[in-house]
Symmetry: C2
């Protein structure tokens, strides 16, 4: 068979496909030592693994079938045509805003999720127009892929590259920027860009999707439309995350980059603003601000880019009976900053005190956040907190642990002077510390209160 | 002045109090280089610190004033009498159930929180009767302090001691057990006891308070009353956490020990069941089950106690660009088990792969949970997950990270055979893994939807 029939496969997996005459996009029945599997054989992309054949099963999920379990494969159909995206030129409309879509890996609106290895790219304006024609009524779209990295593999290098790319686009005169991003660390990148790109004249909107666009319940197209609308038409000129709002698809949320966190592994409404109100709701046609204090869109092209990051920063998630050696080893390895995610109001056990004192003596910056995620660090209330304060551990108010980690890397990237670092850490750039948290930012449990349950159920229909 | 006037003070702090003739319980004006502070000088308890004088200020909070900032102190009043708890014999009532209250540190209903150093003990039945007379209408109370440790300093030794103490009480014939506990690691201890004490014939209720009982908004008395009612009268014979329910004081919640987590650093409604429905609502007079699958109260005295724990277990909270050295060092230090708290559906970056493979080769048990807290680990969906699975990382479904940490310590405490450990980890003892999560267990954001906002506001009044 033609080489194109085995797109991306190699080694063991390729050998087996050839042996049984089964093609990519073939519908296969795979008889294995673990039972019979049926699904469409998917092509593979970023892939060091030659030990699995990946199929999309009826539920929409993709599974990898280990080659060493396979007895036989039978191709019972072929489906490629279904996955073709029609490409058409993206129309230019005089009065619409110009939006730049920056890609960071894979495609935002492919028929299959890029990360599964099953890539039908929909990334060029023409492909996106074919996949989501509604976009042409929202904006004039231009796209550029700055790199291709899974979101869990992103880090400081990618943050800096993005910050610089954003600066250039603003200079060139775009009306708004959309960044396509995997959802795993979407909130980390949003936080990093909130610090690295300040005082932007245009919206900078990060967007992703929780369900790949070949699934009927996909949020990819809607999120992209909302993000393009907020970028091109919205007045909120900040680094935001635009994702699915409530549990219906009525609207999307704009979340401030420093206060957003992924709170569900699979729901489309996974992204939530914690300890604050979301910035806005987004529908195509309306960005409705829920807060007053935001950066407004401007006509000028001024923006401040601070692409700094110190790589040797770590995070410690405290657990009972934690030993000193966990912190000692980080200090010995040369880490310059540690974010502790403590219990309660910002506590750890006494066993860690000697390691914390030693770390401070060696000039390691140590900051405290809370693993409750909601609420403030308050280290003056209890003996333990006061003892940690006396050792030089610095409380970070209601900064989210992830935001604290990113900010400490950013601060230490600018200076080694720990007093200056402290000043940076405690001076909010954009609401990573707030004066108070709104009551409706906290988890409300409706169960057990029939009236509320009934109401929420109705609202969700 | 008499030595009793300086209760708990030593070193620098004691010297200053003596110099200015200021007593514990004196109302002091302290002039410092950071400004003027006014409040009641509190006694000190567990205390290695001689560098602070602790005062309770008008807001109810306690603050530590550093001795090296103090210029002068003036005593302008004295308040001791206000903090006295009247002691009366706890009445015995024939038809009421017998409840044993086990103390783990300090007092559950002191006039001042035990951890501030300001201890007016209310722990003996007589003292508790003086502080919360309503208890005598709920049960016959007997108390015992098994140790005195701040909750952030608790660990395996305390879990084992508690499990054994619970076993003895059940044997002796009590109708229910209440355990007073600090809130920092209340959920860790509840999880540990859920595994260590199985098939109990009576309720085992952990209780704490988020606000010390000298503050008008304290939840101490109400939580204790609810806990005693659930222990003495309730039908749910399990290890539960009993804390403040919604944001009014209408009722308390019973949370299953393996599914509860502290979600707010300071709210009274801080404890929440995640990924499941709470077990019950509790009012004095009614334990109303919200679930069907629970252990019912029995008349027999059979209970299984498994007081095992392997101490060398650690937790890794993944962050972008995490380096291999963080895991390598844990392996070199002899840790036998690692819980990874991954992003998304259970992912880490490629940079950790060599360290994970090395750890597996050295026989370290590695399990995956998700930092989203809600939702399941699904490692077969994406390439990264499949690669981690291939390396031997084992997904823990919807087990909470803290529950996974405690369970891995408990499993490795029983056997070094990693296959047996895996079997223990993946066989739920009591809902630490569930088949599905209810829709109303997830964070609902009401903001931006006026109808829901209005409703919730009304409901909260």
């Amino acid at each position: 068979m033609n080489k194109d029939f085995f797109q991306g496969y190699k080694g063991e997996a390729l050998k087996i496909l050839k042996k049984f005459n089964v093609r990519v996009w073939g519908i296969a029945e795979i008889d294995t030592s673990r039972g019979l599997f049926k699904g469409t054989v998917l092509p593979r992309a970023e892939n060091d693994d030659d030990k699995h054949i990946v199929i999309k099963i009826a539920t929409g999920y993709n599974i990898g079938v280990a080659t060493n379990t396979i007895k036989t494969i039978k191709e019972i159909g072929y489906l490629k045509a279904n996955y073709k995206i029609p490409e058409q030129e993206f129309p230019f409309t005089e009065h619409l805003p110009n939006v730049k879509l920056i890609g960071t890996g894979g495609t935002i609106a492919s028929r299959l999720d890029y990360r599964t290895g099953a890539v039908i790219p929909a990334f060029s304006p023409g492909e996106l127009y074919g996949a989501v024609p509604e976009l042409a009524d929202i904006c004039n779209l231009d796209t550029e892929k700055v790199f291709a990295v899974f979101s869990e593999n992103m880090g400081p290098d990618q943050y800096k590259q993005l910050a610089i790319a954003i600066g250039k686009e603003i200079e060139k005169g775009v009306d708004g920027i959309v960044i396509g991003h995997g959802t795993d660390t979407l909130h980390h990148t949003a936080t990093a860009l909130s610090f690295m790109v300040q005082n932007s004249p245009v919206p900078i909107i990060l967007v992703g999707s929780q369900r790949s666009s070949d699934r009927p319940s996909s949020d990819a197209a809607l999120n992209l439309m909302h993000a393009c609308y907020a970028a091109g038409h919205g007045d909120i000129a900040e680094v935001c995350v635009c994702m699915f709002g409530p549990t219906s698809d009525e609207y999307g949320f704009l979340h401030r980059g420093t206060r957003v966190r992924k709170m569900h592994s699979s729901y489309r409404s996974a992204f939530r603003t914690l300890g604050d109100t979301p910035l806005a709701t987004v529908r195509v046609g309306e960005v409705k601000a829920l807060k007053n204090n935001f950066n407004h869109r401007r006509k000028d092209r001024n923006v401040e880019i601070y692409p700094f990051f110190e790589d040797r920063v770590s995070m410690i998630y405290f657990y009972p009976h934690m030993h000193s050696d966990t912190i000692d080893s980080l200090v010995d390895l040369g880490y310059k900053g540690i974010i502790i995610i403590g219990t309660g109001l910002g506590h750890v056990n006494k066993e860690l005190y000697p390691a914390i004192e030693r770390a401070k003596e060696k000039g390691v910056a140590i900051y405290m956040t809370v693993q409750t995620l909601w609420g403030y660090v308050h280290m003056f209330v209890y003996e333990t907190g006061r003892e940690l304060l006396a050792m030089g551990v610095i409380p970070l108010e209601n900064m989210l642990p992830e935001a604290a980690f990113i900010k400490l890397g950013w601060a230490l990237g600018q200076t080694n002077d720990l007093e200056k670092v402290k000043k940076i850490m405690l001076s909010p750039v954009i609401d990573e510390i707030t004066l108070r948290e709104p009551y409706n930012g906290y988890l409300v449990y409706q169960g057990g209160v029939p009236e509320v349950e009934e109401f929420i159920k109705k609202f969700r229909k």
